[in-house]
């Protein structure tokens, strides 16, 4: 049985970004994607001092939504994300977990193109979503720079990263899929 992916908009999220992420998941990973109605992020996830959402708490909230166990969930936010040790994260997901999160907040960077429909910003969002989904399917960071599972520390790294997995990660991904 092929697992499905549910995209969960958390707060106000541009529809275009959701559609591009969904299209890339379906196109690159051959997985069925559903865009769910929007959810309000839990108040406990918001750190008023840092004015950011705690990615770990958002993931817990998504996992407790009671969806089908064979479904992987990806929360998408326009707001900024953090983990307690980090100033920010573009996204977060546990290895083999059920849910992950992706933030569009820093995708704009210093491109000088603030439009949320800008192709560069949308491509970055799609890359982060596919990368976090890779973790949900047990993929770890890849040492190969020409792989989407290679760690990207900043937007330059992210822009250099391709929109696909290397053959080794792709093989691992399909091995995990076949076990479903």
């Amino acid at each position: 049985m092929t697992p499905k992916v549910a995209l969960v908009p958390m707060g106000e999220v541009p529809q275009m970004a959701l559609r591009v992420i969904a299209g890339n998941i379906a196109g690159c990973l051959r997985l069925a994607v559903t865009i769910l109605p929007g959810e309000i992020p839990p108040a406990a996830a918001f750190d008023s001092h840092r004015r950011q959402f705690n990615a770990a708490i958002l993931i817990q909230a998504l996992e407790s939504m009671g969806r089908d166990r064979d479904e992987k969930m990806l929360g998408v936010l326009a707001a900024d994300l953090f983990l307690p040790i980090f100033t920010h994260v573009y996204g977060d997901a546990r290895i083999g977990g059920r849910a992950g999160v992706v933030s569009l907040f820093r995708m704009q960077g210093n491109t000088g193109h603030p439009s949320p429909s800008d192709p560069v910003i949308l491509e970055r969002a799609a890359k982060v979503a596919l990368h976090e989904l890779g973790h949900l399917f047990h993929l770890v960071h890849c040492p190969e720079p020409e792989c989407l599972m290679h760690f990207s520390g900043d937007l330059e790294d992210l822009d250099r990263s391709p929109l696909y997995f290397c053959s080794s990660c792709m093989h691992s991904f399909y091995s995990v899929l076949s076990a479903f």
Binding site: A56, F82, L83, P84, I85, F86, T87, H88, V89, D92, R94, I95, H135, V140, H141, F151, G153, D154, D157
Partner: protein
């Protein structure tokens, strides 16, 4: 490092431990966590770790105290200090106490990547330093392998082919034939040439010492194991391991090494945590292992595992045509080293060298040339300069005490050197002050 670093996160805040844990998990590192310094020390007693991330502020024993304890008990373990903004002085203090780096919370994700790259680089350099130190100590006085005989030409042809493969090699040959030089030549032409070449003489260690040398040990694994220590199988890290005198290892060690060759994993003595390893094995022996196997002294499964490629290095007496070339090479080497102008060897001298049987092979020839150069007073070495070879053949068995043998030998060398202490000490392989003491003790001064 060949494998991933084993990391421990020490922080009293669970959310911090979890954040680190998941980040390292994504990078494929084995990660452990501890909520206090005490718990961290307990875990360090039971397993080996490469790197610790330690929060400075913790209830009970502080991160700084833990850092101090770890650096004194486990000097090989690297520590990165985690601290909050505003405590930069403490972080600098931690660096002075041996921390490899520090992180100010919260930090950008790529800062953690940079710290990891720094630690990995540092650990590689430490391993390399250890290795070079060992190699310097073990450095032989031999230059490159030299020869133009058919036997050596065959060997030279084989080396590149053997180097291209990754299969275990067994070198056999009498003592002094240059087995380690051949092993180094294979390593130097292999894909592992940029990585360490680690030689160990198995015959020089008792079983338990060889085990700890090869496998390393955890602190407290045995009396005297005050610190955890990496073994040569870990230090070799992707390079070539040269086990000399493999025929001398015990049956238990044969079983242990066979398991390592099959599993590519080791456990330090006193440690249950397996470490993945990668190396090419070259073994050497002057024994006939087939005979040892037939008599039950050597395990057949281990023999066939280490003897995938077999290379026999001929004794010098079987390639006498190489002696003039070798002699000329060593003459040039020691003339340069001793800053003496010794240009050549007379035809009669060469003839004498070719006729001699060289039971100690190339090593004995090298020693003979060095000795002759040191003592020579002419530009050309002649038969008289090699008289000690004939004398060695003719020395009658001397049944005296060790003291008498030593006294007699020192007297003879002093006579040969006309009382020159520096030259005599060099030949005897002792320093001048030791020689002076022995001269006084044996009443040899004139």
């Amino acid at each position: 490092m060949a494998g991933k670093m084993h990391i421990m996160i020490v922080d009293d805040e669970m959310i911090v431990r979890e954040s680190f844990f998941h980040w390292f998990e994504k990078r494929g590192h084995p990660v452990d966590t501890a909520a206090s310094a005490r718990e961290a020390l307990e875990k360090l007693e039971k397993a080996s770790f490469d790197l610790l991330f330690v929060d400075i502020k913790m209830p009970g024993m502080s991160g700084m105290e833990l850092l101090e304890t770890v650096k004194s008990r486990y000097p090989d373990v690297d520590v990165v200090i985690i601290t909050a903004y505003g405590t930069i002085d403490t972080a600098v203090q931690a660096m002075k106490m041996g921390a490899v780096d520090y992180l100010l919370k919260p930090f950008k994700p790529d800062q953690l990547t940079l710290v990891m790259e720094k630690v990995e680089q540092q650990q590689k350099l430490s391993a390399r330093y250890l290795l070079l130190k060992n190699q310097l100590q073990a450095m032989t006085r031999f230059g490159d392998i030299i020869g133009q005989s058919a036997a050596m030409e065959t060997l030279f042809d084989m080396i590149p082919e053997i180097a291209a493969s990754d299969a275990p090699v067994l070198l056999s040959g009498e003592t002094g034939t240059g087995k380690e030089l051949v092993a180094k030549a294979i390593h130097a032409r292999s894909r592992r040439s940029e990585l360490p070449f680690v030689p160990i003489n198995c015959g020089a260690f008792v079983e338990t010492l060889l085990e700890s040398e090869l496998f390393g040990y955890q602190k407290g694994a045995f009396t005297g194991a005050v610190h955890a220590r990496k073994g040569l199988l870990e230090i070799v890290s992707g390079g070539t391991l040269f086990l000399d005198e493999i025929g001398e290892i015990s049956p238990k060690m044969q079983v242990d090494l066979l398991r390592v060759l099959e599993d590519k994993k080791i456990r330090r003595v006193g440690d249950s945590h397996p470490v993945e390893i990668d190396f090419r094995l070259i073994s050497a022996t002057c024994r006939d292992l087939a005979v040892a196997m037939a008599s039950g002294d050597f395990r057949s499964d281990f023999y066939y595992r280490i003897n995938v490629i077999s290379v026999a290095i001929p004794p010098l007496r079987d390639r006498k045509e190489d002696i003039p070339l070798l002699a000329s090479h060593f003459l040039e080497k020691y003339s340069r080293e001793t800053k003496k102008t010794v240009d050549g060897i007379s035809p009669a001298g060469v003839s004498l060298l070719v006729q001699y049987d060289w039971p100690g092979n190339v090593r004995e020839l090298e020693n003979a040339i060095e000795r002759a150069v040191v003592l020579s007073r002419t530009r050309n070495l002649d038969t008289a300069d090699f008289a000690f070879l004939q004398a060695a053949d003719q020395i009658p068995a001397f049944c005296g005490s060790l003291r008498e043998v030593e006294q007699s030998h020192i007297r003879r060398v002093l006579e040969e050197c006309n009382g020159n202490i520096t030259q005599a000490a060099r030949i005897l392989g002792i320093n001048r002050s030791t020689l002076h003491k022995k001269i006084k003790r044996y009443g040899l001064s004139k």
